[in-house]
Amino acid sequence: MQQFEKIYLYRRIVKAKLFIDNHYADDIDLDNVSGQAHFSKFHFIRLFKLIYGYTPNNYLVKTRIEKAKILLGKGNPVLQTSIMVGFHSPTSFAGTFKKITGVSPSAFQKEQLIKKTAMQANPLRFVPNCFAATHGWTEPQY
């Protein structure tokens, strides 16, 4: 790996990305993240965007919304979810969520719960017929 020029730069950016992945629920100061990566803020943002396609701040927001989708899918209340993924204001959370996913958190949660219930009640609907038949998963109890 050392033969690749500037591999050390990649390692620092990846470390910063993983820091966001692991601390998205905290009050992350992206100035500190760039400092920890030993970059100027401008250089850090430029390299991060070059590698991941998002600015660090946009990546943080995207990560929070992705985590929120998982939490909402598990039935966590919207308000609690917004706090668990690092939003200070539920209004800001709802607005950002809708902007990114196209639906409100409560509508998203409703869709997920309907899907989950259907999956438990009639899992065969989610399995291609060929696999289900091969396994004998065609009995009424499934």
Partner: protein, 137 residues
């Protein structure tokens, strides 16, 4: 005419461990996780930017398509690393490699410039290997 692929299978030796590998290490999304009775489970995941392609994490276990002899043979071959399951792509191979290594993913081959592109090979938790290639690499 055929229009698209909707499902494909990766044969795994432990679905719980495969779930952890594909979701928590590779970052894939769970599409379907449905109990099928008698301990059976239909588990599919999708790559983050390809939600329409379900990868079934198919347990190699007796029943359905597999008898005891088949299970033993497949288990041996999977553990041996005889199955190359697919090619995945990423925008930046070095960054993806560094991240996956930090999460404990084992690579058979580090990022390497080949005449056909920039690629690495990694193994899943069962022993299946995959090519990881950089788009425009």
């Amino acid at each position: 005419m055929i229009t698209k692929m909707t499902h494909t299978c990766v044969y795994v030796l432990n679905q719980e461990s495969a779930y952890d590998f594909y979701v928590n290490k590779l970052g894939f999304n769970v599409h379907t996780d449905a109990p099928m009775g008698e301990g059976a489970r239909w588990l599919t995941v999708t790559p983050p930017e390809q939600p329409e392609l379900e990868i079934t994490l198919f347990l190699v276990a007796e029943g359905g398509m597999f008898d005891k002899e088949t299970v033993a043979a497949m288990t041996t071959l999977i553990k041996k690393g005889a199955f190359g399951a697919a090619v995945f792509t990423c925008n930046d191979l070095l960054a993806t490699y560094e991240e996956l290594v930090s999460k404990g993913v084992v690579f058979k081959k580090p990022p390497t410039k080949e005449f056909y592109g920039f690629e690495a090979l990694f193994m899943d938790d069962s022993g299946n290997w995959f090519s990881l290639a950089q788009i425009n690499g």
